[in-house]
């Protein structure tokens, strides 16, 4: 090495004199060393050889489980909002359980209304939905008669009504009597409803529902 040769001659002589000093070794016993080496060799022969990957099993399993748990947590936190169910409601042509000759309280909307509501499958939501269906109407004259067996609160009848009418919040509309012309009534805009209200004209139920189910002392 060039740097080693760059040292001064007197320094090299000093190094030689220093290296001539013998290190002190007092308690180093060769016989003991050979004995220990032999004993270690004998102990190695009696013990089972350790497999190369023996110590990696549990750490690898732990790492894999941790990775799976972390990925599941990330997926849980990053998942999108619950899907909204799009339900297409179409006006019923005729409810088979409804008796003919009943006066239609409300004309059904002429066009199909697409209602987008988030699906809530919780037990409380189902109970509220059932109670809504089984609860009596707040006022008479808007829907079918209370005596109609389709509006009974018994479970088989509720189920039959659900299978027939779907889960829509509206009671099935009555059938327009034969010979009359069903006039499609479009939902009124807000300002017209307000005008009618100010002129003491009560809007129909479908018009109120079109405004988001406004109900109260005004109506």
């Amino acid at each position: 090495m060039s740097r080693e040769k760059e040292q001064l001659p007197e320094l090299t002589a000093f190094e030689a004199a220093l290296a001539a000093l013998a290190p002190r070794v007092e308690r180093f016993d060769r016989e003991q060393l050979i004995f220990r080496a032999g004993r270690a060799s004998a102990l190695r022969g009696t013990t089972r050889p350790r497999r190369r990957w023996a110590g990696w099993g549990w750490p690898a399993a732990f790492a894999a489980m941790t990775a799976v748990a972390a990925s599941l947590l990330v997926m849980l936190c990053a998942r999108p909002a619950p899907n909204a169910a799009v339900r297409l409601e179409q006006p019923e042509a005729a409810a088979p359980g409804m008796a003919e000759g009943k006066v239609a309280a409300e004309p059904s909307p002429a066009s199909a209304v697409a209602v987008q509501t988030p699906v809530d499958h919780s037990l409380g939501a189902v109970a509220a939905w059932l109670s809504q269906w089984s609860a009596p109407e707040p006022s008479a004259g808007r829907g079918p008669e209370r005596t109609d067996p389709a509006y009974s609160s018994s479970y088989p009848q509720l189920r039959g009504r659900f299978l027939r009418d779907g889960e829509g919040p509206y009671p099935p509309e009555a059938v327009v009597p034969a010979g009359t012309t069903a006039v499609a009534q479009q939902p009124l805009p807000y300002h017209e409803l307000l005008d009618r209200l100010l002129q003491n004209q009560t809007p129909s139920r479908s018009q109120r529902d079109a405004l988001g189910g406004i109900d109260g002392p005004l109506f």
Binding site: L18, A22, R36
Partner: protein, 169 residues
Amino acid sequence: MAGVSPETLTRLLDRHTAALVLYARQWCSTPEDVVQDVFVLLMGEAAAPENPLGWLYRAVRNKAINAGRSGRRRSHHEARAAHRGEPWLVVSDADRLDAAAAACALAELPIEQREVIVARLWGGLSLAEIAALTGSSISTAHRWYQQGIAALRERLEGTCPEKKSNCRS
């Protein structure tokens, strides 16, 4: 691959035991035990290392540092080792330098310079091997070596009684 041959082991024991003991003494108070453990480890190796001397110095260094740490944890051992104060070098009238003074001056050097000087002068390692051993660059090892030798020379050629009285070994 076979382990260390008996001839190599004998040669290493004959030529390098004293230097390895002096090297281990830089960190711990039981250097002979450390060197013995390392030789037992070398004999138990299934495959002989490429550079057995470098392997020995590295193993002795690691084991001596660990032994020094555990020795420091035991306060009574530390006090006893400090009280013992064994000389590092054999005193001989034929030597040009005073062995006790040289050991005293060597003990007062920083550990980096001491390690490089012992490995170079008594161990016979090259600066490249010392750099690999200490984890430093060759130029750094060379600088430490030169600074240590200069300090030793200054102290040994201008040794005063006051410095001798402060010597640890």
